[in-house]
């Protein structure tokens, strides 16, 4: 387990009416060790809000019997301290602002990469349940996200902001194959695609790997048939 949320379980509530998408999220989050509670409509979602002290809630806005935004408000009124990520097909700035104002911690637009979802869940969970100063470890690598510092066997590695973000993304999705599109979208948002090439992803990845290997870290990044990359110990 990468993160150890001692006070919390690893429970995640997903409110999503599209069964197939729900299934994908449950499977992928399951691979990460998260336990998912599922609600496919507004009414069920309301009933499940208080059932657990969730690490994070993933709430869809367009529900057949209600607005997911009301669910977010309801959770906040109940003094829930869980992280909340809105997942929605609506991409307007007003919608994002409304979502964050209602009390959500993050807003993810469909269709999204599952790897990005996991990275965001980790990020939100860290923000809501850790009081800073936490340390993430993977093999020889030690990262202090709050301090923006990275060490390999206590030797500091001078990574740029983007390279550190990339490393955290890999660590959140360790042992999984992440695609270059996923990396581009996560690091550059709307600037990610539409360039016809992912050269900038390769460049960042190359720099990050070189800096880590230079201080004696094994290269944990493996290229998987040109589809993407896998970050793992073996």
């Amino acid at each position: 387990m990468l993160f150890c949320f001692k006070s919390k379980g690893m429970q995640i509530l997903i409110v999503e009416d599209e069964a197939s998408l729900m299934e994908s999220m449950v499977s992928y989050l399951g691979l990460e060790g998260f336990k998912c509670e599922q609600a496919s409509d507004f009414r069920t979602g309301v009933g499940m809000l208080d059932r657990h002290d969730y690490l994070c809630m993933l709430i869809d806005l367009n529900l057949p019997d209600g607005d997911g935004l009301d669910l977010v408000k309801l959770a906040r009124e109940n003094k829930s301290e869980s992280g909340i990520i809105i997942i929605s097909a609506r991409n307007a700035i007003e919608e994002r602002v409304a979502g964050l104002e209602a009390g959500a911690d993050d807003y993810l637009v469909k269709p999204f990469h599952l790897s990005e979802l996991v990275a965001r869940v980790h990020s939100v969970a860290r923000r809501t349940h850790m009081d800073g100063g936490e340390v993430l470890r993977f093999g020889a690598i030690r990262v202090e996200p709050e301090e923006h510092t990275c060490f390999v066997d206590d030797k500091p590695v001078d990574l740029t902001r983007k390279e550190l973000d990339l490393l955290l993304y890999f660590m959140a999705n360790r042992n999984r194959v992440v695609t270059k599109e996923g990396i581009a979208d996560y690091l550059w948002g709307e600037y990610g695609g539409d360039y016809g090439s992912y050269d900038f992803v390769y460049t960042h990845l190359k720099n990050m790997r070189r800096k880590l290997v230079d201080v004696g870290c094994p290269d944990y990044v493996r290229n998987i048939y040109g589809v993407g990359y896998k970050f793992s110990l073996d």
Partner: protein, 421 residues
């Protein structure tokens, strides 16, 4: 020009013209009347003078009633058979000034003698009369015009009130998109206008709502299956049982889905701009906006070793527009300048009081320059691009009445955006 100003101008021009002509005619008639009056009077006086000359010729000439002045002298060799009327100036000793007189000149035979007689009559009283009458008429004209102006103004305000109401409501329609409902109209033309407007705006309002719903639904309905495909592909990639061949197939699916979802969201954005669904406006500093996007594009600029040249004007230009659209505009222009740049090329940014210039190195366009801002027009070599970026830029410019121009000169592409006041 305002309706009131224009109609007042027409009325003023026409009435001044008519009154001028009428004034001239009136003045002439009045003058002719007074002259023929004087002539008749002089003719009457001629008989008095004849009697007087018969009785008193050769003795002292005394004052004659009704005659202002009389001159009698030998005719000499002047031959004149008919009476002559004329005007002349004579010095008036009493008032020490010249005055105009009407005179009657004729030859009178007294025995053997021929006398040239001139009877004078002052025209001052009649001139004064003409003057007074003209003055009064001018005064009447001024009063009449003033009356027309005031009447026009009041009539205008009350007659056209409903019309201006309708304009105000139509202006609000732009933002509210609610059908324009006007009150009862007692003028037939306005009643027709009201009905036409109501029908039209109701239909527009309906169309707008339906289009909005359609966009909303399409986005949602398309995004969800896309999200499913995307997530399933991602899960499938995690499988250990797949070989290189299967992975290549998955990679192709993954790339296409990625492109499809970008295409969908961009087209949705264009529709939203066309539907004028961006009504929020805020002040945005142009330089700050450019700098923020340059920072985000740092890696892309660095990767091609592109050199940036910035010429920002002092003081800084402030735009008044939607933040999201401002981002869209600048992001797409900069992206365009980077993507179509050459290795080690240059991007020049220039801001002026009313303009933004973005210039970049690059090979000439492969297509007609006029098609640059058209959807789905792009260089054929580039894959993964839809040719929608500049179409978006154009839409944003149209939305805010910005003027965008493109030119290509000595291997440099130049985009100039002019902001209205």
């Amino acid at each position: 020009m305002k309706l009131l100003t224009k109609s007042t101008l027409y009325i003023a021009t026409l009435s001044l013209f008519l009154f001028f002509i009428m004034g001239v005619i009136f003045f002439q008639v009045l003058r002719n009347l007074s002259i023929s009056d004087l002539n008749r009077e002089l003719g009457d006086l001629k008989e008095v003078v004849e009697v007087y000359l018969d009785d008193f010729w050769g003795s002292q000439i005394g004052a004659l009633p009704g005659i202002d002045s009389l001159s009698v002298r030998p005719a000499g060799n002047i031959v004149q058979t008919e009476d002559i009327f004329g005007d002349t100036l004579k010095y008036d000793v009493k008032n020490e000034q010249y005055r105009t007189y009407r005179y009657l000149q004729y030859i009178s035979q007294k025995g053997e003698e021929y006398l040239l007689v001139r009877i004078y009559k002052s025209t001052t009283p009649t001139d004064k009369l003409v003057e007074r009458v003209t003055l009064m008429i001018t005064l009447m004209v001024i009063l009449f015009l003033a009356g027309i102006f005031i009447l026009n103004r009041f009539m205008f305000a009350s007659l056209w009130k409903d019309f201006f109401d309708a304009i105000e409501k139509l202006k609000r329609f732009e933002t509210t998109k609610e059908p324009v409902i006007l009150g009862e109209q007692d003028i037939q033309e306005f009643d027709e206008l009201k009905q036409v407007l109501e029908v039209m705006t109701r239909r527009l309002s309906n169309d707008y709502r339906e289009l909005k719903e359609y966009t909303d639904h399409t986005t949602h309905e398309l995004q969800t299956p896309l999200a499913v495909i995307k997530s399933k592909t991602e899960l499938l990639i995690q499988s250990d049982k797949l070989g290189a061949e299967e992975m290549k197939l998955l990679e192709a699916i993954n790339t296409s889905v990625h492109q499809l979802s970008r295409l969908n969201s961009t087209l949705t954005l264009i529709t939203r701009i066309e539907n004028r669904q961006f009504t929020e406006k805020e002040e945005i500093a142009l330089e700050g906006l450019l700098e923020r996007h340059l920072e985000l594009l740092e890696e892309h600029i660095g990767l091609k070793r592109i050199v940036l040249k910035k010429h920002y004007q002092d003081g800084g230009k402030t735009l008044f527009m939607d933040q999201g659209l401002a981002d869209l505009l600048v992001a797409n222009l900069l992206k365009n300048a980077i993507v179509h740049n050459i290795e080690g090329g240059c991007i020049e940014l220039e801001t002026g009081p009313q303009s933004l210039v973005i210039r970049n190195d690059g090979p000439p366009l492969e297509f007609n320059q006029e098609e640059l801002f058209t959807r789905f027009v792009r260089n054929t070599r580039r894959t993964g691009s839809f040719g929608l970026g500049l179409s978006l830029v154009k839409k944003v410019c149209e939305y805010y009445n910005f003027i965008i121009e493109y030119s290509f000169d000595s291997q440099k592409h130049t985009f100039i955006i002019q902001f209205p006041d």
